[in-house]
């Protein structure tokens, strides 16, 4: 009786099958492409994305940005700008950089090293 009722009900109920799409689907596919050998990002990718973040910073002249530049000495930024850049890097690579380590990132080179050596970078 109960099972007959249940099957009768189930026959009439339609639950829409929703496709689960992550908010950043593009990022996921990008990672999948890179992950043929390893799921960690490559050094080249780190370099390119770090440089892109720095180039996008409003006060920075993009033509001056190379993997070696120092934020304050070469790009004329100040310590507040540096905080903003490091925060932008956190978002780009989905990291949380503790204050102690954030203050040590003063150049593209240091940023690249930090991100590349961080196991959670993505």
């Amino acid at each position: 009786m109960a099972s007959a009722l249940r099957s009768a009900i189930l026959r009439h109920i339609r639950v829409p099958a929703t496709q689960v799409v992550s908010a950043n689907g593009s990022r996921l596919t990008a990672v999948r492409l890179m992950s043929s050998h390893d799921d960690h990002i490559t050094k080249d990718e780190v370099i390119n994305r770090v440089l892109d973040v720095v180039k996008c910073f409003p006060k920075v002249d993009p033509s001056k940005v190379t993997p070696e530049v120092h934020f304050e000495k070469d790009l004329g930024l100040d310590s507040l700008d540096t905080v903003e850049i490091v925060m932008a890097l956190e978002e780009e690579f989905k990291l949380e950089i503790p204050d102690k380590e954030a203050v040590r990132i003063e150049s593209c080179e240091q940023a690249i090293e930090y991100v590349y050596n961080h196991p959670m970078s993505s």
Binding site: E72, S79, L80, E106
Partner: protein, 99 residues
């Protein structure tokens, strides 16, 4: 620890200011996009203005600003606070520079 490989030297107070700045930017991330933008622009201009206007030897005043900033940050961190409009960011009493 104590690496002397030539990194910039920041005073304890500078570190506190930068940590506070970072704290504000972190807190802003947890807000809706619209508010986040607004918070970031207010916070950014406040810090920048004070970095230019406040005498860097005026420790008492900087300490006061730090205390005030920490309180505002605590308020901002509350999930009920959506924007800075509810906080008293009083740009009127910035060292009476009424030029």
């Amino acid at each position: 620890m104590g690496a002397s490989s030539g990194p910039r030297r920041l005073s304890g107070m500078q570190k506190q200011v930068l940590a506070l700045y970072r704290g504000f930017l972190r807190a802003a991330r947890s807000k809706p996009a619209e508010e986040r933008k607004q918070i970031e622009s207010v916070v950014c201009s406040e810090f920048r203005k004070n970095s230019k206007q406040v005498d860097r030897k005026n420790f008492i005043y900087i300490e006061y600003l730090l205390r005030r900033g920490k309180k505002q940050l605590d308020q901002l961190k509350s999930p009920d606070t959506v924007g800075l409009s509810s906080l008293s960011v009083d740009s009127s009493r910035t060292r009476g520079s009424s030029s």
